[in-house]
Chain length 346, copies 2
DNA sequence: TTACCTTGCGAAAACGTTTTCGTGTTAAAA
DNA sequence: TTTTAACACGAAAACGTTTTCGCAAGGTAA
């Protein structure tokens, strides 16, 4: 087991100085061709590679970007990561991942951990917990220390930084418009509580679409799920709530759900209640998921282009890292959604 | 925008030496209580945190583990990562991720990149490309340089390192046994070509289960899908192959599929052919996926405990990193599978 | 008074680089 | 012969830590 070779060792073996070795390897004009050849041959033989940590310390940049997300076992986030990794790699960066697990504390700890020199900047999506508590001091502090942040999907306006978001409002309008065009008269929405910004926006899109078509929104057709029921572990509770919605509103003929799980669960209940999809009732979800495609019937959905979001976020961050000039010039990139029609709509 | 504060700056402000500051912060007995208090108060005020990169360089360890996986948009791998991250974090480590995208070259480049000081060790799953080419020099070199590797799921015996694997053979025997017990007489298997090691093992388990029950295997009930049809993009071709299987063997009353996609596609075809699930035909898949749970009918499946795999792999790696003693003592941990019964079986 | 011990702190090395600046040697120009 | 310039290389600083060692001042024991 031989340790990695260093400049110092090469220098000692070849009886030259460390500086000479360094310069020879970087093909400096200062060094004679003879010496260069000798050094380069030796370095190749021993497979010399500069130590990244030493370079990071010297250059005060790590060529690494930190990703903080609430959850990795989630198609949307996984796709975003893929996008980030793609452009990061292309531009010579590595990615290091921290999971907040939707917890404020873990988000803070992870960020503090990474901010102490390990990375050059963050790409992140805010945890639900943080959104609920509305405590953003860790973002401010990070930015204040000169470390750029790019937020995606779950962002918060009051923090001044680059952002990449989905046009949630327009996307959900698209979906609800579709349902209306398809003849639905009583469209329900299954959404989250308002403090989840995307939930709020999607609800707003739903309301605007109805209004645009002169339909009076009915509060009993709006089901706001509490966050705790969001996970896979509380499926039964979620099912119960949705079943109640359907039973109390038998005339529902269209459902817009703000995520895949809500949509699929709703379809399940509908089937249980002997409703035919899409004849009796039509469904549209909002997400970039696997489930939609393989569900029975397959689910019409508003696609968010998750990978594109990741790519854009990474580009924004690296641009900022490499151009010290446009310091305070923050952008918000809006990614257009796309309605993918499948079997759950007519 | 104030940069992060360093020991040197604190020393200058307080008019003491850097050593004194360092010792005071670590509560060294060498330093008087007066000075300690002064320094610690100042450090807290300016929120001093040691620079990770400098520590890494000094200690020659980064407290970071590198993960190399073929693909992140994949429930199984995402769950493994979650497991790794969980124990890594608990034990004070960060994780940095490289995606090989199933390519040999990207695997090599990513590993070389990270091996130059950025991480202390690897947790990885080998790309298909690498398995096909059977070129493992990058693993040997990494290990030779004193950097430990833990392989999971897709491993290769000839490389000497810690491993975490699923008992594929036993798992598929369990599945096929279940089908037999449930009364299936003509059980088909939908699997991959043999060079994918897990596919081979699962096929073997299928054959052994049949043999154990005195059932003669029929070659026309064994469908080996070429890898190219594996992706979501070639669903139609996959469907065609499966439809042909069903049409040529009308007596099939049980199907064991080595992954989720094959199983769901097969169920789709069965429905199309007006077969009732599970009355006419029963299905079992092999995976830790979301699809199984939410499919209609939901799919009975052999769970691999992906998260546990990740946890075990991380524990193995960190143990090795922190005990220089048992250098050459490599383990292979086998994770037991679990049959999760759902609606696709009686 | 001398010898010795304790206390409290600083200098310096080390981790592995890159880069600036200085310097000795040789050859060309004056 | 003297001056100058080009050439080839080395010393040292810097990035931010931790740690070993040395040392001065003051106190105590002989």
């Amino acid at each position: 087991m031989k340790r990695k070779i260093t400049l110092k060792q090469i220098a000692r073996e070849l009886d030259v100085s460390i500086s000479t070795v360094s310069k020879a390897l970087r093909n400096s004009a200062e060094i004679s061709d003879d010496t260069k050849q000798k050094v380069q041959a030796f370095a190749k033989l021993y497979n010399y590679r500069p130590n990244n940590i030493a370079l990071s310390l010297k250059n005060r940049k790590t060529k690494t970007i930190g990703i903080i997300i609430p959850e990795i076992v989630h198609y949307f986030f996984a796709k975003v990561i893929r996008g980030i990794e793609l452009v990061a790699n292309r531009r010579g960066y590595n990615v290091i991942i921290g999971l907040s697990n939707e917890s404020f504390n873990k988000e803070v700890i992870n960020m503090e951990m990474l901010a102490n020199g390990s990375i050059d900047g963050f790409v992140l999506s805010i945890s639900k917990d943080t959104l609920a508590q509305q405590d953003y001091h860790h973002f401010y502090e990070t930015i204040n220390q000169g470390m750029p942040i790019v937020m995606f999907d779950r962002v918060v306006n009051e923090v001044n930084c680059d952002k990449v978001i989905v046009d949630d409002l327009k996307g959900s309008k698209k979906a609800v418009n579709k349902l209306i065009e398809n003849g639905c008269k009583n469209i329900a929405i299954i959404t989250t509580k308002d403090y989840v910004s995307v939930g709020k926006l999607r609800t707003q899109g739903y309301l605007e679409a109805l209004e645009d078509h002169g339909i009076e929104p009915q509060s009993d057709l709006i089901l706001k799920i509490v966050e705790e029921l969001d996970s896979e572990d509380h499926l039964e509770d979620l099912e119960a709530e949705i079943e109640q919605l359907f039973k109390e509103n038998k005339k529902i003929d269209g459902v817009f759900a703000v995520n895949e799980l809500y949509a699929l669960t709703a379809m399940k209940i509908a089937r249980k209640l002997k409703k035919k999809i899409p004849e009796d009732i039509q469904f549209i979800g909002f997400t970039d998921g696997v489930l939609s495609k393989h569900a029975t019937p397959s689910l019409t959905t508003v696609s968010q282009h998750a990978q594109t979001m990741g790519e854009q976020a990474a580009e924004l961050l690296i641009d900022k890292l490499e151009n010290e000039d446009d310091e305070e010039n923050y952008q918000t990139v809006v990614i257009e959604t796309e309605l993918i029609e499948r079997e759950s709509t007519k």
